[in-house]
């Protein structure tokens, strides 16, 4: 079974530029998550989708971050404009459902460096 796919794996941009990340979850997984992992810290949830609807985006900086999952499968996360403090690994995860303790499967992440 294919895992969660993410692209690109690495991205370097200058501050105030825009960037987009793509995630393809495991087939059949209804729930998709985007996490931000700053160096030396654990992942922090940015947004959670159930199919194509947003379940939780309370920690998403909405002035600069946006995410969508239009057809309930792939998802994109965008940052516009980027700031230095956005340098982090952006992890996508998926699970069969959003039931408590449902296993989340993580992709390899996109490493973003903002100069």
């Amino acid at each position: 079974e294919a895992g969660v796919a993410q692209s690109p794996r690495y991205k370097i941009i200058e501050k105030r530029q825009s960037v987009a990340f793509w995630c393809n979850p495991i087939s059949g997984h209804a729930t998709l998550y985007w996490y931000q992992q700053i160096l030396g810290q654990g992942p922090k949830l940015l947004i959670q989708f159930q199919n194509n609807g947003v379940v939780d985006d309370s920690q998403l900086p909405k002035d600069r971050f946006s995410a969508e999952r239009l057809k309930g499968v792939d998802s994109t996360l965008k940052i516009q404009p980027a700031k230095l403090e956005d340098s982090a690994v952006y992890l996508c995860a998926s699970s069969l459902s959003w039931a408590d303790q449902e296993t989340q499967y993580f992709g390899p992440g996109t490493r973003l460096l903002v100069l």
């Binding site: 654990g42 949830l45 939780d56 303790q101 992440g109």
Partner: protein, 112 residues
Amino acid sequence: TQLLEQSPQFLSIQEGENLTVYCNSSSVFSSLQWYRQEPGEGPVLLVTVVTGGEVKKLKRLTFQFGDARKDSSLHITAAQPGDTGLYLCAVSIKAAGNKLTFGGGTRVLVKP
């Protein structure tokens, strides 16, 4: 203050030694998960502990959930270089849609 405090932050040991990492909180949880994250990869679930006082073993890894369900530990016996990675504990808050909250992690380096 983080919901989950992990200690130590970094641990460097020689191959064959034992190590223990801790995950502590002042809150009570219905369950707690441990993940390992290798360099350049996403976290991978190792175990979920559910019952207070529960002990689970996964080969050379032993996981324990505190009696009061506020803390947990991970013990590795005879560590190998393949155990190198970032060990993360996490909790899923009921009624929060399986949203995971992670601790800051313990970075383990096992030298050959």
